[in-house]
């Protein structure tokens, strides 16, 4: 089951560039939360702070508090432990090119030392079914490389890979921006399915997408969270003038 995320006074820097400024918000458990905003507004940096990926860049720095469930991830846990609890799907599909479809899905478990064959088989099948890819790949699981799939299939493979470690939260950084409309709608259906079991945070440039999949939406601008509310409120009756300008296409 998913857990909620509580963010308090989060600040992030790349070198001297203050990319996130005083972010405070609560992401509800077992819901989809969308983050929108123009390029460079800090929404990708924000999700990367939620699983401590931001700090893998040597010039990056973070301050503030992020509580995932009961765990303060910057105070009480190691980055690798946090990342096992919080799955991440990236903008471009990034399957491991040398691994088979099966090994790609099992990689999170295998690389963390898990090796029970029968359990792995079950988890791989379950994850691929959850990511709606099972029927397309079940005959080539160990024969074909993850890189041989189409872009949309690769992205669903990456989602299966993230689900296989049974995370509580799934972070998706523009998961459909490199995909065609058919693959995009499959990913959206998937998000709809998955949010009953996981807390989902999705960054997107596509406002219709945010409106379709998310209960809550946050609008980022210049490193600040301008507005965070119910999705229908953001898109029909935003409080802040800047949010209204953005969703009506007056800038960005």
């Amino acid at each position: 089951m998913g857990v909620g995320i509580e963010v308090k006074n989060l600040n992030a820097w790349y070198g001297s560039n203050h990319t996130l400024q005083d972010i405070n918000l609560h992401i509800p458990a077992n819901h989809a939360t969308a983050l929108i905003g123009p390029s460079g507004c800090g929404k990708s940096t924000f999700v990367r702070c939620l699983n401590r990926m931001h700090e893998t860049n040597p010039i990056a720095r973070v301050t503030g508090q992020v509580k995932v469930g009961d765990v303060d991830i910057y105070a009480d846990a190691k980055p690798v432990e946090i990342r096992r609890r919080i799955g991440m799907v990236f903008q471009r599909p990034n399957p491991f090119p040398t691994m088979s479809i099966y090994d790609n899905v099992a990689s999170g478990l295998k690389l963390n030392g898990y090796s029970n064959r029968r359990v792995l088989d079950d988890i791989v099948e379950k994850s691929l079914r959850n990511s709606a890819l099972w029927d397309e790949v079940k005959d080539d699981l160990k024969k074909k490389s993850g890189a041989s799939l189409s872009g949309g299939q690769q992205q669903r493979l990456c989602i299966a890979r993230a689900l296989a470690v049974d995370p509580e939260v799934l972070l998706m950084d523009e998961p459909a921006s490199a995909l065609d409309p058919v693959s995009t709608s499959k990913i959206e259906d998937l998000i709809f399915e998955l949010k009953s079991q996981y807390t989902i945070v999705i960054v997107t440039h596509n406002m219709q997408q945010a409106a379709r999949v998310a209960e809550k939406t946050g609008f980022f601008l210049n490193g600040r969270l301008v507005e965070f509310d119910e999705t229908h409120k953001i898109f029909t009756n935003p409080t802040d003038k800047r949010t209204e300008d953005y969703i009506t296409g007056r800038f960005g």
Partner: protein, 296 residues
């Protein structure tokens, strides 16, 4: 102004296209020509002396005809095995450090510079240096040192392999897309594990090519062996004793005044090249098996 509407322009463009294609083909032929020429000449000079005795017998004393280079073939194999066992792990380890853990540090920059310089050092200098370090003086507690030996020859060749393997490993690792590393980190895989199981594995075809290049290069080295392995007219696979090697045997036979030895030297050169090609092809075949459909 539309570019496509002008007939003279499109003609010029088509001509340029053809000219560049012809130039590229010409350059390719020039690259391959010396290799083919050398191989044909070796076949012409050496093929007639390659027979069963060449692979089964050791050299005959001066004055007797016949004999072979069986001991040199085995000796070369032993030397190359020692060199690979020492040189490849150290080289790959160094390359991993440069690309993954030491990126941007002063130590890494120093190692990279040293490796590049070492790559350019003439092999004869490597030979003299190896002689001074492990042949000329006995190092306490380290076996095989203090005299000419197969082991010291292997070490000299290993030292020549390390910089090539190290730098190609680094370059191949840097070519692995950042997204692949992030995918592993995002799964909560520790850095060391992600490096070994993901990054190195993804780069392994390139790393293997680098190792094979280094292997093929030292397989033909003569100079470093003159001061270390020394050469041997008899059977020996003792790491503590001087050992024969194909390049050494070719060197000695080619400089001799006897026609029979000259013929054997040609045969030796031919066999050396064929064996290197075979060894490299074998490694490529073995490592390419099990590669999945569609894997890049």
């Amino acid at each position: 102004m539309p570019l496509s509407g002008n007939p003279i322009r499109s003609k010029v463009r088509a001509l340029t296209d053809n000219a560049v294609t012809v130039l590229a083909i010409l350059a390719t032929v020039l690259v391959i020509a010396p290799l083919v020429a050398i191989f044909i000449y070796l076949l012409y000079k050496g093929a007639s002396s390659v027979n069963l005795a060449f692979f089964t017998q050791i050299p005959k004393p001066v004055g007797e005809t016949g004999g072979g280079m069986a001991n040199a073939i085995v000796g070369s194999a032993v030397l190359l095995a020692i060199a690979s066992i020492i040189g490849i792990p150290i080289g790959i380890g160094g390359g991993i450090y440069l690309a993954e853990f030491g990126r941007g540090t002063k130590l890494a920059n120093g190692i990279r510079f040293t490796a590049d310089v070492l790559n350019g050092v003439p092999s004869i200098v490597m030979g003299v240096a190896s002689y001074a370090l492990i042949v000329g003086s006995h190092i306490p507690f380290l076996p095989f040192t203090g005299h000419f030996s197969a082991f010291s020859g292997g070490v000299a060749l290993a030292i020549m392999m390390i910089p090539t393997v190290c730098r190609t490993t680094e370059e191949m690792l840097l070519m692995v897309p950042h997204a692949v590393r992030e995918a592993a980190l995002g799964l909560g895989v520790p850095n060391w594990r992600s490096t070994l199981s993901i990054t190195v594995k993804t780069a392994s075809p390139g790393i293997i090519t680098g190792c094979m290049l280094a292997f093929a290069r030292v397989a033909g080295e003569t100079a470093p062996l003159i001061f270390t392995a020394l050469g041997n007219q008899f059977w020996s696979v003792d790491l503590n004793q001087p050992i024969a090697a194909l390049p050494l045997q070719i060197y000695v036979y080619a400089l001799s005044p006897y026609d029979d030895w000259h013929r054997l030297a040609w045969a030796g050169a031919l066999v050396l090249i064929v064996l290197i090609v075979l060894a490299v092809s074998l490694v490529r075949y073995v490592t390419s098996r099990g590669v999945l459909k569609g894997a890049s």
